[in-house]
């Protein structure tokens, strides 16, 4: 059972306090988008073995959504950060690179 630190209230929260929300940093495709863009937005997901960016909600806590950068293989958590950012912040990228020098980087 994972522990993720909620960046809003600072609580090291057990997974039972949290709700998962899938992949982070999806870009919404509304009217005007192509069928391919819509399909990728609705259904295309990365599912990497290694570094991944996810959405979580502190449902049974402060209620805030946040993002987590995590290794899907070792379950190491590199950082948790605000959900109100379209791409991972620089310090999060740096934290991951420090731990995973071979990581191909945010794409």
């Amino acid at each position: 059972m994972l522990i993720l630190e909620c960046p809003y209230c600072g609580v090291a929260a057990d997974e039972t306090e949290l709700s998962p929300g899938g992949e982070a940093h999806l870009v919404r495709q509304g009217p005007g988008s192509s069928d391919q863009e819509l399909e990728s937005y609705l259904f295309g997901r990365k599912n990497p073995k290694g570094v991944h960016f996810e959405r979580w909600r502190h449902s049974y806590g402060c209620g805030k959504w946040f993002h987590a950068a995590r290794c899907t293989m070792t379950l190491e958590v590199f950082a948790t950060y605000s959900a109100q950012t379209p791409v991972p912040p620089k310090n999060v990228i740096n934290a991951i690179k420090a731990k995973r020098p071979d990581w191909e980087g945010w794409t």
Partner: protein
Amino acid sequence: MSTRLANGGRLLNKSRALSFKFNGRNMMGYEGDTLASALLANGQVMMGRSFKYHRPRGVVASGGEEPNALLGLGEGGRFEPNQRATTTELFDGLVSASQNHWPSLEFDVGAINSKLSRFMPAGFYYKTFIHPRAAWKHLFEPIIRKAAGLGAAPKDRDADRYEYTYHHVDVLIIGGGIAGLAAAKSAAAGGVKVMLVEQNAHWGGRAPVDGAVIDDMPAQDWIDATVDELSALDNVTLRTRMMGAGVYDHGYVTCYERIADHTPGDGRPRHRLWRIRAGHTVTATGAIERPLSFAGNDIPGVMLAAAVRDYAVNWGVSVGDRTVVVTNNDDAYRTAIAMKKAGLDVPAIVDARPSVTSALAQEARDLGIRIAEGSGVAKVLGGKCVVGVEITSQAGEGAARETIACDAVAMSGGWSPVVHLWSHCGGKLIWDETHSHFRPDPDRAPLGDKGQAFVTTAGIASGAMSTVDVLTDAYAAGKTAAKAVGGKATRKGAPKAAAEDEQDMAAVWLMPQGAGYDLRSKTWLDFQNDVKVSDVQLAAREGYESVEHTKRYTTLGMATDQGKLSNINGLAVLADALDKEIPQVGTTTFRPPYTPISLGAITGEARGELFMPIRQTPMHDWHVDQGAYMEPVGAWRRAYTYPLKGESHEEAVNREVKNTRENLGLLDASTLGKIIVKGPDAGKFLNMMYTNMMSTLKPGKCRYGLMCNENGFLIDDGVVARIDEDTFLCHTTTGGADTIHAHMEDWLQCEWYDWKVYTANVTEQYAQIAVVGPNARKLLEKLGGMDVSKDALAFMEWKDGTLGGITARAYRISFSGELSYEIAVPANQGRAFWDMCLEAGEEFGLMPYGTEGLHVLRAEKGFIMIGDESDGTVIPQDLGLHWAISKKKEDFLGKRAQLRGHMTDPDRWSLVGLETLDSSVIPDGAYAVEAGTNALGQRSMIGRVTSSYYSANLDRGIAMGLIKHGVDKMGDVVEFPTIDGTGSVIKARIVDPVFYDKEGAKGNV
């Protein structure tokens, strides 16, 4: 035959005799006995029959790894199958019974399977699935079903209670042997919070049995002193009868405490499941002795050497008078020596090693025990008990050199560290050539949230095989653990043990090395699942190369064994058959729990009334007092109908819906979701949430709205009221309140976080009562305080005020087509307002109605219900709700998705009303078919019923359904085949879904 010795039994309190039953026979034991030791003391070696061949099986081990002695314990509400006799503490009045035999343990019909074993090889089940098919169904299956299987499932409700507890600790140490105690000492010295748990009732593990000397004291004295020392520390918690069951992500550990298994009915919970968050976990879980693979190694009386020693030293029980010891290592010599010292006969130690010169061997020789070097057992003689062994040369093919009469065989194939907990969460293993076992690789530990190792092994669980190494390793493990959680390092040294001079073991995977098929097909690897050496070899020949596949094909290590006894021997045989090294073959996956834990412990308190929290409206008690039939709606309980005395539910519903249309109905609508959306951008936000335009709604007005997800599908509906310029109140469905609130928050927090909007779920802050029917206005006027006339409060308007002196907000909205008001009052006034309505409404013919009445009334008007007309694949356009989908808005959730080709496909099923030709009620969910078949050869399907009721107001069945091209086929008749087996077909005409008061006159008053 096994018996109680005059002396010995360090765990026994011989001043307290206990009586118990086995298969109806009365037996006696002592306090401190396990059920297994007490059975042996009563001469009962055979304790069950095997799973597949029903071979007689005796107890093999003395701990949790026991594969055979699984018994049914207790009676009635305390009956539980498959309980290990070896870990069951004896208590007065215990009732036990052996399993897996018919008609009796001594005489078993199913044992014929053993004679037929040649026809039941590995994968027998899979093979018979293929051919001949008829033989499986009519011949094999009935016989196997009757004969196979472990214990029977309990029939009565569990009489005991169980509980969970949650715990946070810096260092959790699992295993209270000398390694766990040493680790606890050094971890505690680091000043951190330590918890030490031991699965047995006693501390110290097997060190006292093995005669270890620690810090110049006999092991038991050192253990007692250490436990006293640890007990006195404030930062240490000690618990016995508590097993580490599983290790999970980020330091989460479950432990299983057997509180009252040995004191049933004393009022305490029987089991407690501990859910522990540990900063660092130390597994001091010891090791398990491996059996040796020789023919007849499953005959009752053949046991692990250490178990034979345990029974003698711990419980003063001899397994036999003449015990032959068979080994490939030094440790088994301790058993021979212990037997001899207890005054029993040890005719020979059969040692596979060509030459044995260690101190232990010398001690055995000095006691006059004969050592047969370079030798092995060709086969064990006997059926239900051991009568002798044939000795052969280990290097040969099994020609008997001599036969030795004996009634017990103590075998030892070496020791395997218990790596289960280490492996549960990803710890990796390395193969130790010297000791022929897998041990934890400290460089590849389970990793925590920061990438740190969060488990350290201690003692023999690390692969440290001598007492000296065990204590050094364990003490260091405690230090490591304390340091990992920020403790200080102690400078004190580890406890010192007296050195033991042992000779290296020899790897022996088959005895004798060249055993022929006859011997191999009677050489058991897995006693519980009846897997023999020949089965694993057959699997390898048939192409099973993966150890995981071989496990499933042969059932090796399945069920309760989980790789404890059978694992390494099976892997070695497989590796040999595949001509690979053992580490190349690898191990199967270790999964929690370590040994089975009770379903009760997993359930905890969550049963009966506490199974799940129930949400209750302020009027809940009135409904219950009234005798309402309550139904679950989400976590709520709502009144389905209020039957009068002697009335059926159907009759009650019919009365309620007629009365509501003719006089006055009252509905508890408090469960409807109520979400306040507030802020300068609230209108803009709701325009995205709903398919309709909400920003243009005027304060004081209401609008019905639909919500879709980004995939375009309808997810919720409800009436939105604009309270003021900045504030909206959104009603959701009962089940949708929490999810829709979460859905709104998701979009607000993650997508439009710069919009100035707040939401609040105020569902439980208000009681909401629907006053419905021709007399609705009369009732409210009688209560007084608010002008609810047609002009003052028009349809789809709301107004604040008081009614009968209670602060109220009246919405003039209708889910029935009648003149209808929904009155929201503060939740704590809900019951008072409800009671007031009941009293004042009497003269207007008021009757409460329930959720079924609500459904019938809405269906009569063709109103959709989320979850009936929608199912996650339906878009609003399917339901003819185009009028509620804004064409002016550039965007709303789901708009883009609804433009996809298959969403605009004219072949989509569309909502229509259905009237049966004979006025009957179509079964809900019935499918409409047309002539022809689809690509799979099934009848062509053209639609289905989404709602179906008997309408008392119309005295006929009414239904709604989704039908292909439905709206273009008004007046057509479609067929719905029934599934009652008669082949009959219900015919229904496609009609407008509004069955009642099409012009809406009744609400327009």
